[in-house]
Symmetry: C2
Subunit: 718 residues, 2 copies
Amino acid sequence: MARDKSVVVGHRSLVVGRSKKDQRLTDDQRLTTDDQRPTTISPRRVVIDALVPEIDGGRFPIKRTVGDRVEVVATVFADGHDLLNVVLRDRRTTYNAEPAEHAEQVFSASSASSALYVDAGWRETPMTLAAPGTDRFVAGFAVDALGWHEYQVIGWVDVFRSWRRDLEIKAAAGQDVSLELLEGSMIVRDAARRNAAGTEPATGGRESDWLLTQADALSDSTPIGDRLAVARADSLDAAMAARADRGAATASEIRRVWVDRARARFGAWYEMFPRSAGSAADRSGTFAEAARHLPSIAALGFDVVYLPPIHPIGTSFRKGRDNSLVAGPGDPGSPWAIGSRAGGHTAIDPALGTIDDFHAFQDEAVRAGLEIALDLAWQCSPDHPWVREHPEWFRHRPDGTIKYAENPPKRYQDIYPFDFESDDWPALWRALLDVALFWIGHGVRIFRVDNPHTKTFGFWQWFIDEIHLRHPDVIFLSEAFTRPAPMLYLAKAGFTQSYTYFTWRTTKAELTEYFTELTSTDVREYLRPNLFANTPDILHAFLQHGGRPAFETRLLLAATLGASYGIYSGFELCEGEAVPGTEEYAHSEKYEYRKRDWDRPGHIKPLIARVNAIRRAHTALQHDWSLRFHETDNPQIIAYSKTGGGERLLMVINLDPHHMQHGHVRADIDSTYPYTVHDLLDDVRYGWHGDWNYVRLDPGVRQGHILRLPPVSSNLEV
Amino acid sequence: MARDKSVVVGHRSLVVGRSKKDQRLTDDQRLTTDDQRPTTISPRRVVIDALVPEIDGGRFPIKRTVGDRVEVVATVFADGHDLLNVVLRDRRTTYNAEPAEHAEQVFSASSASSALYVDAGWRETPMTLAAPGTDRFVAGFAVDALGWHEYQVIGWVDVFRSWRRDLEIKAAAGQDVSLELLEGSMIVRDAARRNAAGTEPATGGRESDWLLTQADALSDSTPIGDRLAVARADSLDAAMAARADRGAATASEIRRVWVDRARARFGAWYEMFPRSAGSAADRSGTFAEAARHLPSIAALGFDVVYLPPIHPIGTSFRKGRDNSLVAGPGDPGSPWAIGSRAGGHTAIDPALGTIDDFHAFQDEAVRAGLEIALDLAWQCSPDHPWVREHPEWFRHRPDGTIKYAENPPKRYQDIYPFDFESDDWPALWRALLDVALFWIGHGVRIFRVDNPHTKTFGFWQWFIDEIHLRHPDVIFLSEAFTRPAPMLYLAKAGFTQSYTYFTWRTTKAELTEYFTELTSTDVREYLRPNLFANTPDILHAFLQHGGRPAFETRLLLAATLGASYGIYSGFELCEGEAVPGTEEYAHSEKYEYRKRDWDRPGHIKPLIARVNAIRRAHTALQHDWSLRFHETDNPQIIAYSKTGGGERLLMVINLDPHHMQHGHVRADIDSTYPYTVHDLLDDVRYGWHGDWNYVRLDPGVRQGHILRLPPVSSNLEV
């Protein structure tokens, strides 16, 4: 079938297939693109409007993970009152060219190749009216493979069914329908001449012949009643549906879905510094030593181990302990000050080991059922080889020095940011791509990206796209603690997951408002939250002053509000000492080796293990979209549910780490009979009845519940 | 300056001007348009997102009238923390080719001409941050001429001001800023080399030289304090602003505004059948007789007189009185059954007169300060000349007859609808365009369009566009009583005004919900309501059973909720007799001459005159967007305000035509002192105090108030 060409009605509102009627209007007739008036005219009757999901008019794709559904709704109507057929089409698109060629094309002056994508062929799903009078049609499809997927809505007038409906009305009103039957006969005859793709000429065949006999039967001289029976036959209806004339169909613009693997949506993350895994506090740990920690991390139920940068660290302007300007003799410096004589972004800090040591570390991770995530930090220490090799990739000062990072009056003299706008930007961008490809080549498939909002946004969209071209299974986590607009934009532009404002949302009102926005608005179509409860940069006051119960509260919130969540090591030990008046850890691991007693009393490891086990066993916690907040009569008690896998889980959490809090929770259960709820955390069952029920949460006893509510008769699938 | 070419970052998200950096990427490098991946890459730093107003991602223009403002908001940000300049550009676009040629091009195979539009040149307005941390920039512009207008947002990094801000911070922190001053010197030097358009090379001149001296002053060896003074000088700031480097600017897509004349927004409409203006009930009135009514219509304060179709009426299957299937000997038939031997859409019913009589009627209208609106009804009676001359423009039945209009089981055998999809559709469309142009040639500039939702939507968009090309002052009123989606779509597609669901919104809740939607959502950007209180097809039960007070209530509602509103003649006489159980008038004027006693007691003409006078004298009622509903404690009392011209008017209306209703209205006035409100309807003043105040409305005494509230200190401009 000829590839659809765009024929635009109005200002790019409708993209339609080619039909005989449109042949009168060729590309020559398109007005200049200076002219934004309709470029061609068409008598297409069907209008497709307001298609969702759609991000910024289709500028950005939505995201899903393998196995998810996409529910599409569109407003579809035509003039008059004919019946419409509306169909949702979807297809996987597979990349067809050598990725290396492709990246080159972007930068070279050579002609673009054609047909970079091949279609897998459209799959079709009929759309049904959501509610009478709304013109809103709905249908869905499941995405079953990584990578790009497309969807589109097609609508056309169902001439046969419109005719048949009117025939019935007239017959019921006692009107003479002999002409109508003749008209129907002509409609059926036309269909017989079309082939099953709805185009002419027909390939003939048995079905064509059969239709012709039906056409004859409609127009012969048998009694009207007999002919009405012919018209009403299901077999005729089915045959006509298969040969619908789509020649005048209207098609929406094609919309895209980027499909990730399941880990993109669901996972428990653990951040650790391998260099702190050593047996002595004054030297770096090695990958071998860090590998010995992996089984216990796995035993806690984590899925991903995220490592800050593992590269050589610069010595010039190296930061000392607690971010002091001058490093002491044994101070390791910040891992984000990347590069030394030992190498740059594709090298490993010799103190950690070699590339083989890294592979062994990865092997241990695989054995433990963990996946390793690395940190991409696009910046250099003054000692990075690129500073010498590619000075043009940096901004220079009049005195010849390179401009270090700063946020006046703060100076970060251990960091040189790249100049993404430099005249040599294509080579720089290509080099950064190659760094990522290097680590992917060494088996890494997850990257946490450091401060992407301080690098050109266009770079990220290109970069992520290029990686995904080759490796659609790669996950990118955006660490962009910045204003909402750039934070959201990075997610639109391709980041698989994003850190959020979660750490600063501590009250019931804040959490309710923020997570309603994240899970109930169209932000959810492109931004996947990863709720880290702490990071090496963020130790919130709530944790500083709340003691162990505060850590329990924040752990429960993160792990149940977020299908993806994380902690930075030390959280399980309730490490809460900060530099006073700040959110910085005292003796921050960013600037020194931090040797810990992993069994120090007061830890919350059993709780973490229990929560992670519950997450793995209950589908409801592996998605975010079903999140609903429930009323409580105590502002210190927050309650929310998630639904999935035939279950509904209700989380009830005490936001006060210091005091017992009690009150009532509204379960949204309409029941006259008592029922049992099962707290999955401590395997206790409670007898509840009706909608509002009493809860009591004592810090030190339990900081929250994860209650499995009884099954309801309705389908609880997400 | 070279015309901006599109360089796309991401999926058509940013359209940017050409810069040196982008030269590496030529059109050759664009990937195939099959491939929806980014077509070119650019290191542009600024992102422009979420521009409003915008209809359907820019597919449709917004509407304004001459003198209106367009307030534009956009989310603009870049990586890092540099300061941005964001500018709103707008320009008028003027059509540059012969319209006749243009219409031909659409249908012919000839090449499209270029440069159909000339630019009037961009006007620029700086945008300011709406609120800190939001990245939302706002600015506005006024549209001052009919026709197309465009707007666009441009953003670029303000290198100089970013530098100067950081300089101040560092100087205040006591840091050594000598390198910074050198850098600033280089920035200024670069600017000196650019000309005032922000491009290189400079044309030299005094300002260039002066900048060079400033650059020198920044980098010489005078004390830092002196050099800081140079950096801070307003004169330097202004000169640098004038020479901003826009080479790397990001531009949004261009959005369009269609600007109508004021009557498109504001006017009181009166619908009359000229054929009923005769002195005898059994014959048609003439234009001359109808003209004698115009002064009294004008005296009532109306602006537009709308006439149902004035063309010859078919005789075949002519409808008789009260829509009977067979017309009696003297029955005139429905004016919408257009066409007879006497002519079609460009002819006048001989019973009304000749084209000269029509001109005389128009002259009388002009003298009375009225404008005439005609009815465009795209359909034919069986006797219309086109039925014989262009059978291909209609659908045919197997027996050779033409398919008449129907909505099964209803049949309208006096009406043949056009086949907008016929193989000869371009000629049909062109003929309909010519009909409109014919009447425009005879001085008509307003058309009410009959049932546009039963004609192909693409036709309307083309048709209105073609007319506006030649006559931007033409107003089109859409009479599409249909489901919301097509109704709204017709407004998007170009209709100047639209009938609404107003006639069926009679309760406080219904009116509040509906008019909030119409005036507070983005529907208002493209749909202008015209609130007809009755039509020849719609006599609502509220008017049938409510008596005179019901007419007063609906008149007050229509005329104050809507900057544009209308009545169909007879309303002023409180004609409320319907065919029982329907909304059809008894003895409908659609099917017979209806001679009226225009002074029949019980009329509400003084009220109408008073309300129309108030509308003309108070700007607040000439716009819809400031509409706000006010609380009342009686569900039968509705209250709402409009603001404009420095005033706020509060309408309080009794929705019960049968009973006195009283209660309290919330004025939204925060005042400890008593104040006076002035009822403009009957020139009575009331003493009010505080927020809630008592009202009492007795049917027969007053059905509502139009209260002018006291001025407040804040700016009440719309």
